[in-house]
Symmetry: C2
Amino acid sequence: MCQGCFNAPVQNSDAMALTAALLAAAGGLTQRIHEGVVARGFEGVRPAHGFAFTRLAPDGATVTDLAAHLGTTKQAASQLVEELVRKGYVERRPHPADARARLVVLTEAGWACTRAAEEAAAEAVGAWAGVLGEDGVRALRDGLLRVAPGGPIRPAW
Amino acid sequence: MCQGCFNAPVQNSDAMALTAALLAAAGGLTQRIHEGVVARGFEGVRPAHGFAFTRLAPDGATVTDLAAHLGTTKQAASQLVEELVRKGYVERRPHPADARARLVVLTEAGWACTRAAEEAAAEAVGAWAGVLGEDGVRALRDGLLRVAPGGPIRPAW
DNA sequence: TCCTTATGGTCAAGCTGCTTGACCAATGTG
DNA sequence: CACATTGGTCAAGCAGCTTGACCATAAGGA
């Protein structure tokens, strides 16, 4: 075993504990948000759709933009958009400045779903505030932001 | 929009920021551990295998145990074990107390890979200590542990 | 201008990891 | 000793993604 790592200030077992806690928290939070969205009446949506919504929300985006945001191929992004169109959450509009491109924008249902996800997230995080307190949650968020500034938007494993 | 949520102490946008930071941190850390494991010469391993290793490490486990740990069907767990057997990381031994069951245990290569993952995790978390300090990392870990005690081991989305 | 290259998007085929369903061997329970 | 239960595998199918090919528009240079 690498002596440097073995003798590092942060012990291996601690690192694994942090990793496990991080994965558990992320997985649990994602799950709760998803359940909250479903409970609010939005069916046929997966967490992956939420990652797409965060990119589409402000002013829409092209399929290529979305693919870059999600870290997938543009074919995969196109299929995801097609699915969201079928389900009524987004629609394709002609791009105002490029006849090749198509601007994908949220429909009213898409906006409603996005708001539902925000509510569900606030609810789940609110439960955390009951354990850590408002300050604790803020500290957690700030620590994570400082530590993962450029992390992947769509964790895939 | 739900007024209760809108007026909640933790604002929706804050909740989404925390969620994004959490996902980015988890995704980034997983990615770095994976890269560290690959850099140490272990090929053909995916993060999902690491989740399996953490269950098999102490004394081995049955396929059914593993399936429960990973949150999948036992068929999926069986296929994963088959793959790990092919790659030399685990082996199936007869179960000492039940002739139906088979005990899946790590081989020497499996142990080496587990140690490599621990080293890579310690390395990645060590980099975080450079930003947050030792105390900051500890606080982060403790906060996460308090907030996600029973979260899923294998985040899937 | 025309030709060439780059870019946005889709269609089609294939692969991988998982699921459901069926089944067998061994266990335990009355 | 029947009979339901449990551990495990085989087989088929599905969902989400990838690679490869292709078309339409755009951008840039001679």
